[in-house]
Amino acid sequence: MAQYASILFSMILVNNFVLVKFLGICPFLGVSKKFDSAVGMGAAVTLVMVLAIAVTWPIQQLLVAWNLEYLQTIAFILVIATLVQLLEMAIKRFMPPLYTSLGVFLPLITTNCAVLGVTILTIDEGYTYPEALVAGLGAGLGFLLAMVIFSGVRRRVEEAEPPEVFRGMPITLISAAITAMSFMGFSGVIDHLFGM
């Protein structure tokens, strides 16, 4: 059990996908202006990450069995694109209330590097199936946490008046740097907590 908790929390805090691993920067900078959109996007990414791992992990075992490991990248990206499309249709058809809060974000996730990144990462780390699913959940929750924190930071930044050339993207990136700095404080915490 401790090993799952360790994977989960290290994915959320120490190896935070956005602020430490730099995956999913585009949605992080693009959709973090409003709290509601940030939460919706974060939740959608979490859902897709877990489902994508649930599908790609078994596929990797097949590829290994057939000596086709070099097809990993092509296979994963196509499977993820199909999965997201199907998920969107299913949610729209069967769960309209969920579609209003989550579904509209799904088409944005297809070519998101965080989703492809987490599937390849769990394979590289050699996780077992349950471990990989927990890692996916942790990566998604870490993305959600970063989005929510940053949407709060950003609301303040929008009201500030930086020098002319720093308006817009530069000041946003610099506030992201300060947010990332706060996450550096977590490295080492997990090792102490779980005695790994």
Binding site: K21, L71, N112, M169, P170, L173, A180
Partner: protein, 266 residues
């Protein structure tokens, strides 16, 4: 004056090539492909390697997409482009693994992630699918080199300040303590922010104003199909860019869907 010349004729091959270097530079101007720009630029060799790998994929996928542009039905073009791009990324991965194992180790997961780099899909969708193979190759080479230049610049700043070395050779005198923060994630965000601000400053500077007239990228809704933000404006350099309007659109869509749902409930 500048406007007249840009509208007047088809751009020459040299213009197609050179626009990616500065005025439409992918990372500093269009803000595309920020993930690798931030992630791999801790050392100059990594930035350079990543830039070259991306350039190779850009040129090759550009040529193939352009050759197949009349055969691919438009309804399945995005999956088709992704498959073409993924094939070349796989090729690059194999080459790097075989001949540059140290670089493969350093780039790690970011090498396969070239597939989802919005620059590559963006150029396939916006340029290669509408032009001949030679123009597509020139465009891919220009964009790729522009990306390589900004990655190299960024990694040079981070390596010199963060480790005191350039290409592994010590350049700062030993009494200057390296700033480790520069090679940490936080330093990546800060250096990119300052570099973008610097590029705006250079462009807005009165001395340069006559030379670099701020040109707008032709609005094209198709770029958005490729961009993960899918904003629908199609012009990443637009001042009231993409992202603001995108969020508004998103909120309007959520609101409309919510209203529909409530009405259905009644």
């Amino acid at each position: 004056m500048a406007e007249k010349t840009t509208v007047a004729s088809e751009p020459t091959l040299a213009q197609t090539f050179s626009k990616g270097l500065l005025e439409e530079n992918p990372s500093l101007r269009q803000m595309l492909g920020l993930c690798p720009t931030l992630a791999v630029t801790t050392a100059v060799t990594n930035g350079l390697g990543m830039g070259m790998a991306t350039t190779f994929v850009l040129v090759c996928s550009g040529i193939v997409v352009s050759l197949l542009r009349k055969l691919i039905p438009s309804s399945v073009r995005i999956p088709a482009f992704i498959t073409i791009i993924a094939s070349f990324v796989t090729l690059v991965m194999m080459l790097v693994k075989a001949y540059l194992p140290a670089l493969d180790e350093a780039l790690g997961i970011y090498l396969p992630l070239i597939v989802v780099n919005c620059i590559v899909l963006g150029r396939a969708e916006m340029f290669a699918s509408k032009h001949g193979p030679i123009e597509a190759a020139a465009d891919g080479l220009g964009m790729g080199l522009g990306f390589t230049i900004s990655l190299t610049l960024m990694s040079a700043v981070r390596e010199i300040l963060g480790a005191g070395t350039f290409l592994g050779v010590r350049v700062l005198p030993s009494f200057i303590e390296p700033m480790i923060i520069m090679v940490m994630p936080a330093g990546g965000f800060a250096v990119l922010g300052v570099l973008i601000a610097a590029s705006v400053w250079i462009e807005e500077h009165p001395r340069h104003k006559t030379r670099y007239v701020r040109k707008k990228v032709a609005p094209s809704a198709s770029l958005c199909a490729a961009c993960p933000i899918n904003c629908g404006i199609g012009d990443p350099t637009d001042e009231q860019c993409a992202k603001d309007e995108f969020v508004e659109m998103l909120e309007a869509a959520v609101e409309a869907a919510r209203r529909d749902h409530e009405e259905a409930g009644k």
